[in-house]
Amino acid sequence: MMMASMVANGNRDGRPGEALVLKGLDPETCMIVFKNHWAQVVKILEKHDPLRSNTSSNMAALGVIGLSSGGPMRFGGPIPGDEASAVQNYVEHILFLLMEEDAGQAGAMGPILEFVVMENVMERLFLWSLRRQFTDDMKLEQLKMYEMIVGQARQPLLHHKPVLRPLMMLLSSCSGTAGPEVEAELVSLLNQLCCVLAKDQSVLELFFHTSEDQGAANFLIFSLLIPFIHREGLVGQQARDALLLIMSLSAENQRVAQHIAENTYFCPVLATGLSGLYSSLPTKLEVPGEEWHCLHREDWLQMPTLVQFLNSLEFCNAVIQVAHPNIRDQLVSYIYNGFLVPVLAPALHKLTLEEVMTTTAYLDLFVRSVSEPVLLQTFLSFILLHRHENVHILDTLVSRINTPFQLGTVSLALFQTLIGLYCEDVMLQLILRYLIPCNHMMLSQRRVVKERDFYSVSAAKILALTPSCCSPEHSPPPLRQLDSILWSKGTDNSANTGTMETEETFLEEDGSGYSCVIGSEIYLDVNYLHYLYNARLGISSCTRACQVWSAPYDGEDPPPEEYQPSALEEAGARGRQAQTVNPKRSHPHPRPRPPCPPQTTDPAPTNQLELEWDDSYDAGPVVSPEAAAAESSRPPQLPAAEPPKHIQEMRRTAIMLVKGSYIEESDFQDDVMVYDLVAKKDARDTVDCRRPSRETLPESEESEIDSNLNLEEDHFKESSLQEKDEVPLSNGLSLPLHPTNMEVTKGSKEVKAHVADHNSNLQSPSAEVGDDLMGQYEELIRTLGSDETGTGGSSHVKTVDKEFRNPVVTPMEEDEVDFSSFSVDTPELEKPHSSLFGTKLRSGSTRSHSVPFTGPFVSVLLSRLENMLDNSLHVNLLLTGILAQLAAYPQPLLQSFLLNTNMVFQPSVRSLYQVLASLKNQIEQQASTKKDFPELITSAQHCLLARESSLKGQDTNSGDSRECSPPEAGRMMKSSPPPQPKTISLARTEVFATVLFTEFLKELAAIAQEHSILSHVPMEE
């Protein structure tokens, strides 16, 4: 029998056989047996009770006796072993009788339970175990005892304080220092209690009341679970499951929600825990091959730390899904301010390519792992709107597409993920906002935007770019008969189970297809049908997804007139206020800081920076750069405006819990630590308020500070230049360093000085990275404390917030400066392309607002596409994949820009068609100069076919294609390298690019054709 054996586990002398015998007895007999056993127990108990005269024990008395000393608790000498085991045997029987007792009539207590309550049986048993050595074994025994009776009793036991109270004391005594076994049992019991709670909410009230009696923190079972949130293995999973039960409870129960949001540190612990876990991730990934570009399931399953992080992220996702809006909003806000901004943003700006690439791959994985829209929004608003050192994360990521090496590829994969979300906000920031004014086309062309291509003119023009060496008629006979080269089919259809697909698979299994009705007379490009089919699927799902969008983006709505550059300035100004809001819905208490760093620093061309910033000191309303730096690089945030009274109360109860009851000092240390930090921070905030803020400092004082900072900076520069390539920082804790940045202004100095300072603080944890998460987490919080004392940056927060309202900047300027500053900042990353790219951008920064610009993303994509012949195969697969993804969007602005070959654009605007035409010319040139080009093409086609079929096989085996990159799984390469072709080396990029180019033309043409019939029909399906 299970419960008997459970007891037996805790008690080696247990005799389960005897317990079973009791089962058939009538209630009266049971009662008699119970009382007899209890009398025996009491006899032994009283013999060892130092206050013998007391029949019922008084909990308060125990405090006096000094049980909290932490040492072994014995009175009147050691308790003999035979007595202990006798008690144990009696107790086993007693509990079994209690468990087996049915409730009385009308829900009344059964007689045994009544006796247990009246005689305070459970409490006395608990005290007895304390009186002996309260070892882990003893705790284990007690925990198992409760687990058994809570789980198995036939009548509700927890409603009775004499049962509940000792349970709570036991629980609090078991937290903290206990060994792994005790922890496991504790969490298991807590999980069980949560299950009871979820079923019977009336117990909930009692949990609160009991705690109040205790003077301890409310809702103890919840607080006890918090330290296990990020634990790996079964214990962590059980704890998270239990917490999730409470979270869903909170959705209906305002009191629980309020308690969790206002009186516990659930949300900050959860969010800062992410930071902690992130810090233990490898800073550099062992990349399997050059073509690797994103973390697949099979990749991260090999990395325990990443699995653990993803577990916690998934848990956040689940909490956000089920919890009360108050908790949800608070958590989202902490994730933004406690993980994304202070940890991920700096990690995205590390020094080496490998580190930055790794972070980018992580970010991509995280975005793919998150499903709850609110959490996704948090990540997206971080990517789209957050500025790190005055540069939007988005702009940085976009510019990295243009880096050669793997960073560019990984960045492309990230954008593939982002575009695959069908998110209006993403598309707006990436492309649409540049197209809305319609300045990229001739004025007369505006009416063309919405026109549809009735006669597939664009498709024909695109296909006409097919290089002569690749025209379908030239394909060798075997290829004509085969499935030919097809990139984006099969594997990505799994989500769309339409009738057509079912039939297709049926037919394919059947092997009974046929190709051309038109007959053998002419060759009809059969694989083009696949492209049409996939285009149809892609456009349909995209169109359906975009139904939730706010506008059609058809050149009329939003109206181009309202979003001309001049008007955009105001819109942008308004918008920037809105930008400060994210992530959404802060909870008033504890109040998080505004999530975005200040976006008011004027990003005018570099040479103006100093002037601008100097002005800002006088004028006041512009935020100071050091505040910006403090904002953007601050470590995990604790609530800033915590009412001290509240904190003090929290502390008091925590201390009472520690000192006043039976638990040892270190119990609740995590919570106490948090409380302490918050309290310290509170105190500091008050100090900060009294201190003059930087803006109001007199000039002399200011320069003094500056010179100090300069020293630091110089020192830092030196060292960082020396070890540029081996920055020994652990992930997430290291900081963005731009030692080559030559913008010597007060502001930038301070930024870097701050960075240096920050860095030195944060290096210690990296040195001690151990297996123990908690240790890292503590370290993290500790550094948070010291860091903040160092910079005093928090005092700026409010000013910054206020100053958002008067931004001096226009959106156009922002972009320009973002890019020029990037190219100045990181020349070592950019070198091979920087001349081209940098020049372009810099020329952009001087151009007037009215010069048409289709945005950095489009520009970078097309630049890379133009180099298609030099790109490796996998880069080209990603590039063409992204462009095909974009082309499938139904918004006329986008469609007309990418696919309408009749559109007349402004001379300065480069169109996709132009790039394709230039590629065709390059290819024709290659083909004319290389005699063996046609043969090479053929072997490349065969090679790619073989690869395609091997990928297909993998996909059906792993079943993981959906997880990687939603719409383009078929294009993707898996971690394992493809079979090398015998006849042609992948290094012949121009040959592979030529084959791919030809297929890409078909893909685009097919998309254009399907648009002509799909996008104009109202969706009624």
């Binding site: 829209p373 789209l384 006409a464 025209s471 046929y514 007379e521 490009d525 799902s541």
Partner: protein, 293 residues
């Protein structure tokens, strides 16, 4: 949904019916051939494909306009599909068309005349689209039964469409306009240069007699309504008398159709994301994202 029906049928039903013969032939010819049956284009009539086997691939790989011959059928197919979607969009009163199963260049149609001289007339017709569409002449409209009308040939039943579209201009002229014209002629009688001089003369000289001839003609047409379609084509329009067992349910579905899209949307798996407030172009500007200050 017309389009979808069309599409589905063209691509699936079609397979089932004609696929079997094809399949047998093909398998004999090349057993290893992979299956593309599913994505087969509807067959194109013999006269529709202006392309022959190239004598020398290099010379004929591209047509004069630079487009590949191989793709010609696709362009034609999609041009016609685009026209068809446009017809659906116009929601022409009392006009229904359906492309034939055998050729996208032939559409079956029916016009319901709701008032005027031809009131209660139900005229079936066929639209023939030239195979060099859209560069050829305007599509032809031929009534199954020659209606008594000045512009309808009393023998062939062909409507004089060309007078309205003297020159067919791509991008300007669309098939829905032809259909619209076919409807208009029954409301607004034109007797100039008639194909049926008798009808024209009567209309001008003796409207009463004209009217009674029209009534007779309408009666005749309607009496043949339930006949087998003239064309042996699975998609030809055929009428049958009301059969509650079949039609009640279909009618019910048509009347409840409008509610369905919303219901359907809820269960959609693929959903996009947007936090953009309508009228704004700022990301995350929606009202349910209140500022955090």
């Amino acid at each position: 949904t017309y389009l979808n029906d069309f599409w589905e049928k063209g691509r699936s039903d079609g397979e089932e019916q004609s696929g079997e013969q094809q399949q047998q032939q093909q398998q004999r010819a090349s057993p290893a051939r992979p299956s593309f049956g599913k994505k087969q284009l509807p067959s194109i009539p013999k006269n529709a494909v202006p392309v022959t086997k190239p004598a020398s691939p290099a010379a004929t790989a591209q047509l004069a306009n630079g487009t590949h011959a191989s793709y010609g059928p696709f362009y034609l197919e999609y041009s016609l599909l685009a026209e068809f979607t446009l017809v659906i969009k116009q929601k022409l009163p009392g006009i229904y068309v359906q492309p034939s199963y055998k050729s996208a260049l032939m559409w079956f149609g029916v016009i319901f005349i709701r008032h005027g001289l031809y009131q209660d007339g139900v005229f079936k017709f066929t639209v023939y689209i030239p195979d060099n569409y859209p560069d050829g002449e305007c599509p032809r409209v031929v009534f199954d039964i020659p209606v008594f009308h000045p512009l309808v040939d009393p023998v062939s039943g062909e409507l004089d469409v060309r007078r309205a579209f003297t020159k067919w201009r791509r991008n300007h002229n669309h098939i829905w306009q032809v259909l619209m014209y076919a409807r208009t002629v029954f409301y607004k009688i034109n007797t100039m240069e008639p194909l049926n001089p008798e009808a024209a003369v009567l209309y001008d000289k003796d409207v009463q007699l004209f009217k009674s001839k029209v009534v007779d003609s309408v009666k005749l047409c309607n009496s043949h309504l339930f006949d087998q379609p003239k064309m042996d084509d699975p998609y030809a329009i055929s009428f049958s008398s009301w059969n509650p067992a079949i039609h009640d349910e279909a009618k019910e579905r048509m009347f409840t159709h409008k509610r369905r899209p919303e219901d359907h949307q809820k269960g959609l798996q693929v959903s996009g994301l947007s936090w953009v407030k309508p009228g704004s172009t700022q990301p995350f500007s929606k009202d349910d994202n209140p500022p955090q200050s």
